[in-house]
Subunit: 196 residues, 2 copies
Amino acid sequence: MMTAERYEICISGSGGQGIITAAIILAEAAGVYDGKHVCQTQSYGPEARGGASKAEVVISNNVIDYPKAMKPDILLALNQASCNTYFSDLKPQGLLVVDATLVDRIPTSRVVSIPFTDMARKQVGKALAANIVALGAVGYLSQVVSLKSLEAALMAKVPEGTQNMNLKALRAGIKAAEKVDLNTLPRSISREEEEL
Amino acid sequence: MMTAERYEICISGSGGQGIITAAIILAEAAGVYDGKHVCQTQSYGPEARGGASKAEVVISNNVIDYPKAMKPDILLALNQASCNTYFSDLKPQGLLVVDATLVDRIPTSRVVSIPFTDMARKQVGKALAANIVALGAVGYLSQVVSLKSLEAALMAKVPEGTQNMNLKALRAGIKAAEKVDLNTLPRSISREEEEL
């Protein structure tokens, strides 16, 4: 599944969107359940820029030398500010994934746009579960974590009484991502697009 | 308050003891509320060793070059396995803080030993709040985060309906740590002790 030795995922959004929770579940799926080397980090302070914060997950088959994401393979942007702020970090062959409900100015056509918040509201009954819907999609698209481990990590992490709701959210995200045909996307982010 | 440019805190224990939650609250207190540079990390996979896992917080007045803790200034050990595993990482002038309820074999006399779990059970009514009692103590002892910010970060992070309980836990930890006279401790961890 993982050809590169090091795979970097950046999960970004505003403070209240549950990006750290999503990153920790992803990290535990790959690290605790799949047995890979994983570092999960967040930075605070002057580095955080208006409405845009991020949580990073680095997954590797080998020991991880530097724990932060340098050139993400996937950038998940749950709001417009984080899409604007972190897009330029993305690897040229990287994939942008956005919440279509909240992000409408998209800087590349190499993008998977799924309405995570609308789906969370309509299919799960809770808009705040958008982070878990997005986690399902990113987990599926990354191909670096097994979906079984993702479910197990989710079940271990969320509070009692919210497990069914969260599992529904995760599976909705996976299902939406399964419908995406990555072969129809441009193979890399073009320089012209980057300059937009 | 912070004389060194870089201050490293390692919070360790077993998987279910809420060490990541405590680390994130500490990081957000220093980073979001005190405006310092903060990196918060956890690593998974083969690095995790039997019953001992850790979450790290690096706090600095300047940009943080390497986000992981190399030589912690404070090691909080919430169980015996994590005390055994991570003690040797501690800086020679660093401080070991242990949960006296669960750690009885202590490798140095440069230690603050407080019964976090007993206190959480008796004073808060919930043994699982031991991580927040310990957070109060570590926050106070570190002197790198304001207690006002620690309370604000805690209130923003914990679920609705648990705020009073958590505030009680935090304050119990702060109060216990206030009684500690660090001047009565040896000024550094001796080599003989390290070899125990």
